[in-house]
């Protein structure tokens, strides 16, 4: 692999600038650096979840208490959050989700493909605004724009970070 990408660092800066105080996550390799940054920052509460839908409810509660947050997950986790997103939609809770994609570009694991291929359509079916990004240089500005739309526009927004950008996992890795 090439040297570690620096987009997670600029994304973290964008999250902090957007006022994010709670970062909830189910780990994914593509989010490893961002999670590390959140855990290392005293001004941000890093909240590891047992399942992604906890994060949707958690960030609804955070907003009730006056705090913005972000939810990090892999595309497989999108399947877990759908019903809980009904709460965000009904209450119009701002929700910013950063989703690292599996089941697409160069995927080696067939079990990842069904949910990966259904991720965007599933989110859109329940009313989430989806912004996809496939090159590393555009991740931070996409997150910045998504955060503004979430927290100021009062909407559910997901940024899908493409597997081509992340580098597809390989059997040999």
């Amino acid at each position: 692999m090439a040297s570690p990408p620096d987009w997670p660092d600029t994304v973290f800066g964008a999250l902090k600038d957007a006022g994010v105080r709670q970062v909830a996550y189910v780990p994914d390799a593509g989010h490893a650096r961002l999670i590390e940054l959140a855990r290392g920052d005293n001004a941000v509460r890093a909240v590891p979840l047992t399942a992604e839908q906890e994060g949707v409810a958690l960030l609804g509660g955070a907003w009730l208490g006056g705090e913005a947050g972000a939810l990090l997950m892999q595309s497989s986790g999108v399947g877990n959050v759908i019903n809980m997103l009904g709460m965000s939609a009904e209450c119009r809770f701002p929700l910013l989700m950063l989703v690292t994609m599996r089941g697409e570009w160069g995927e080696f694991n067939p079990w990842q493909v069904p949910m990966g291929q259904a991720t965007q359509a599933s989110l859109e079916a329940v009313g989430v605004i989806v912004q996809r990004v496939d090159d590393a240089d555009s991740v931070a500005e996409t997150v910045e724009a998504a955060a503004r739309m979430a927290f100021q526009g009062g909407r559910m927004v997901a940024v899908l970070i493409g597997q081509r950008l992340l580098g597809a996992k390989n059997w040999d890795k």
Binding site: R21, Q22, R45, V47, P48, L49, T50, A51, Q53, E54, G55, V56, A57, L58, L59, G60, G61, A62, W63, L64, G65, G66, E67, G69, N83, M84, G86, M87, E90, C91, R92, F93
Partner: protein, 196 residues
């Protein structure tokens, strides 16, 4: 089962008794009867009633508690709702919010769907699961004698606190609070944070 103590507590009386001493405690309720019980005890802007999002009440309380460390947050939910989000007990235990308490009004039934038994009717012990997750202050209340101690813990003991209170499955009159989620959010935030 068959060896569990006789259950006599009335859910509505239990919730009213706990909430009597709440002062400025923020309350989040799980969908169904816990929302009606809480509304029956007196509707307030600092009650946030879930009408959906099953399994999300405790996590909602956690996010609120982390955002408002200076305020007590009490989640009142049902056994079925807690079971659907039971992993959240582990998430709460890792965060250790000192201001968060979870109260499960446990009638051992899915009340909104025809009173089918939940897992707790077969002996599944939510307090033991909470303790196993790492919430040390976790208890089950079976009768009147432990109720005042439990209420005091829910409202004031260092959190996280977990209490399951066994209540009879008797159905109670529906007391329906505001159901529009956007309106519930606005009034809660306005009460807590002031006008936007």
């Amino acid at each position: 089962m068959g060896d569990q103590p006789e259950i006599t507590l009335d859910r509505r009386a239990v919730v009213a008794r706990i909430l009597k001493g709440r002062a400025d405690t923020l309350v989040v309720t799980g969908l169904g009867a816990p929302s009606w019980d809480t509304a029956a005890a007196g509707d307030r802007a600092d009650n946030f009633y879930l009408w959906g999002g099953m399994g999300g009440a405790a996590a909602t309380g956690l996010g609120l508690a982390l955002a408002q460390p200076g305020r007590r947050v009490l989640v009142i939910t049902g056994d079925g709702e807690m079971l659907m989000g039971v992993g959240t007990l582990a998430t709460i235990a890792v965060q250790r919010p000192a201001n968060l308490a979870i109260c499960v009004i446990d009638n051992q039934r899915y009340g909104e769907t025809g009173m089918q038994e939940t897992h707790t009717a077969f002996g599944v012990d939510l307090a033991a699961m909470a303790r196993g997750a790492g919430i040390e202050d976790a208890a089950t209340v079976w009768d009147e004698s432990a109720l005042d101690t439990a209420a005091a813990a829910l409202l004031g003991a260092p959190g996280p606190v977990f209490v399951a209170i066994k209540v009879t499955p008797a159905e109670t009159p529906m007391v329906l609070p505001l159901r529009d989620g956007l309106a519930l959010k606005h009034r809660f935030r306005e009460k807590l944070l002031g006008k936007a």
